[in-house]
Amino acid sequence: MTDPIRPALLDVDHLKVSFATDRGRVTAINDVSFRIDDGEFVAIVGESGSGKTVSLLSILGLTDRRTTFVEGTAAFRGRPILGLPDRELRRIRGKQIAFIPQDPLTALTPVHTIGWQIVEQIRTHETVSKEAAKKRAIELLDEVGLPNPAAAFGRYPHQLSGGMRQRAVIAMALSCNPALLVADEPTTALDVTVQAQVLDLLKRLRRDHGSAIILITHDMGVVAEVADRVMVMYAGRVIERGTAREIFAAPEHPYTWGLMASIPPVEGPRPHRLPSIPGTPPTPANIPPGCAFAPRCAHRFAPCAGLPPALSASGHDAFCFLDDNARAAGRAALFAAPETAA
């Protein structure tokens, strides 16, 4: 996986993000490291406040520079991008790294047409005529599956349905052929049948364009559908990392177990009660010391008051003190014999 000669597409090392708030500095992201290679489909999973979105926005320089402090390094194709002057970062943003936001209704400027907004992006990064940019925009809208793309070009965001808007947003993200697509909960605001369409589209685009995709989501089901590799985040840290196959076959962190077990199944036996994680995820302002999950964890023991050993550089690993036997036992208890309806 690690090619010593060619640098990774995106290499993030010891990323730390903190905010200035009324009550002093609050650390939202702590010690997050990962790398992504060309053409990979990586999912970052977490609940609200886990820092999954903030970590990527801070890498892209999209956080508020006056209130957000970003430490650590992030290199895009070997070139450090944290702390790059805005002028230089802008050449990468939108051209080589494109962003797909969560809610396509609020993510498009309401007063400009879809086509205008795509052409704007193309002409920001490339010197092409308006006509050529328009032609490309219509091709893109066609490619993402908008019926009648020429008409859609002249439409305003509010005139399209949610699914169509999300396709338009994806077309815009693709307009400069980016090497990396960052999608922040791209299907959360959509209905399931439309979500299925958009996930299929993302998979097809990865195949056709070879772009790497980072998908931020809270939905383990979506992850299972599309991702090659998975990072689970909790309270600002990566708490489990591995290939999708590894993580779904044998999740190692008690939080990941809980996350997977608490999804009500749509087939098979109906559990009498859903296994759930007690308590609520912490907000960045009140992350507990030591293992942040310990207060909600059924398996906590004395060492959890301290910080678990760092994740290994590669392979499947969890940020947890439990040993392999304890993990296997805990997992078995939760998944093997679900309590069925009485």
Binding site: G221, P264, L274, P278
Partner: protein, 326 residues
């Protein structure tokens, strides 16, 4: 469970809700949108009816019509056999107590300037549910029911997390000692780990308090978990309804099947049916079957004639000319 087995707790007969759009003061302007189109549905005491559908299916509008939060434009609504379709606000008052609603966003429905204690105590006093000297005990009891410490009574809504706020929303509904609770997407704004807690809470409360639920949600897994019976809606009409486990195991309507197959699974299983296109505009619904524009099995008959919701075996009803064999 209740003495009268013959009368449903709540019954909608061909209930419709129309909105006028583009209406000005000119007569004859504007067009009617059928948000809910002649829906007939009975809710029996003790059951949990899950209403599922995508946005634009009319499930939320139906929920609000069922509690008469919205006026209904056509058909009848009966509570324990009593016609309340035209009941005035004053006449509805005693029934409103028995029918409570819980909404998706608990923070939007809680007054940020009032402590939990005041919010919960007010309906108790106004409706004279409890004598004044028992209110304190009742509040503590309510907090216990929804799994919150009694000390939280003196806090303000903003001091709570989303899950806790939803618990307070539930406590407020329970304060009225209702028979029926209509919950509109009560867990969809919550994190997955918290969502499971609240889903379990709904189940516990049903058992402890003998409640009847109408549970509206777009998340099919959640609906399957809580419901005894499921109603699938599409474009303002019911396309299928039936007993939960059998409906999920063997959907009879092509839409239900597509909806179920579209859910991402943890373990990949089965072929996925990806529907083409979007929901048709409710301003211009298809002439025939509402689903005919997207149905992979649609025939000319489907496109021209709307199928009726017909009852079959095992309490299953389907509105389809060519229902799928189970």
């Amino acid at each position: 469970m209740t003495p009268s087995k013959a009368t449903p707790l709540l019954e909608a007969r061909e209930l419709s809700k129309r909105y006028m759009v583009g209406k000005t003061f000119m007569p004859g302007s504007g067009r009617a949108v059928h948000a809910v189109d002649k829906v007939s549905l009975s809710v029996w005491a003790g059951e949990t009816v899950g209403l599922v559908g995508e946005s634009g299916s009319g499930k939320s509008t139906l929920g609000r019509c069922l509690t008469r939060l919205y006026d209904i434009s056509g058909g009848q609504l009966l509570y324990e056999g009593e016609d309340i379709s035209e009941a005035t606000a004053r006449e509805l008052l005693p029934i409103r107590r028995k029918m409570q609603m819980i909404f998706q966003d608990p923070s939007a429905s809680l007054n940020p300037r009032r402590r939990v204690r005041d919010m919960l105590a007010e309906p108790l006093a106004v409706h004279k549910i409890r004598p004044r000297n028992e209110i304190g005990d009742r509040l503590a009891e309510l907090m216990g029911l929804v799994g919150l410490p009694v000390e939280y009574l003196d806090r303000y809504p903003h001091e709570f997390s989303g899950g806790q706020r939803q618990r307070i929303g539930i406590a407020r509904a329970l304060a009225m000692e209702p028979q029926l609770i209509v919950a509109d997407e009560p867990v969809s704004a919550l994190d997955v780990s918290v969502q499971a807690q609240v889903v379990n809470l709904f189940a516990d409360l049903r058992e402890r308090l003998n409640l009847t639920y109408v549970f509206i949600a777009h998340d099919l897994g959640v609906v399957r978990q809580v419901s005894t019976r499921v109603v699938v809606m599409y474009l303002g009409t019911i396309v299928e309804m039936g007993e939960t486990e059998s409906l999920f195991a063997a959907p009879a309507h092509p839409y239900t099947r597509a909806l179920l197959s579209a859910i991402p699974r943890l373990s990949a299983s089965g072929e996925r049916i990806v529907l083409e296109g979007d929901l048709p505009s409710p301003l211009d619904p298809p002439k025939g079957c509402v689903f005919s524009t997207r149905c992979p099995l649609a025939t000319d008959l489907c496109r021209n004639e709307r199928p009726k919701l017909t009852a079959g075996a095992n309490g299953r009803s389907v509105a389809c000319h060519t229902p799928l064999a189970s």
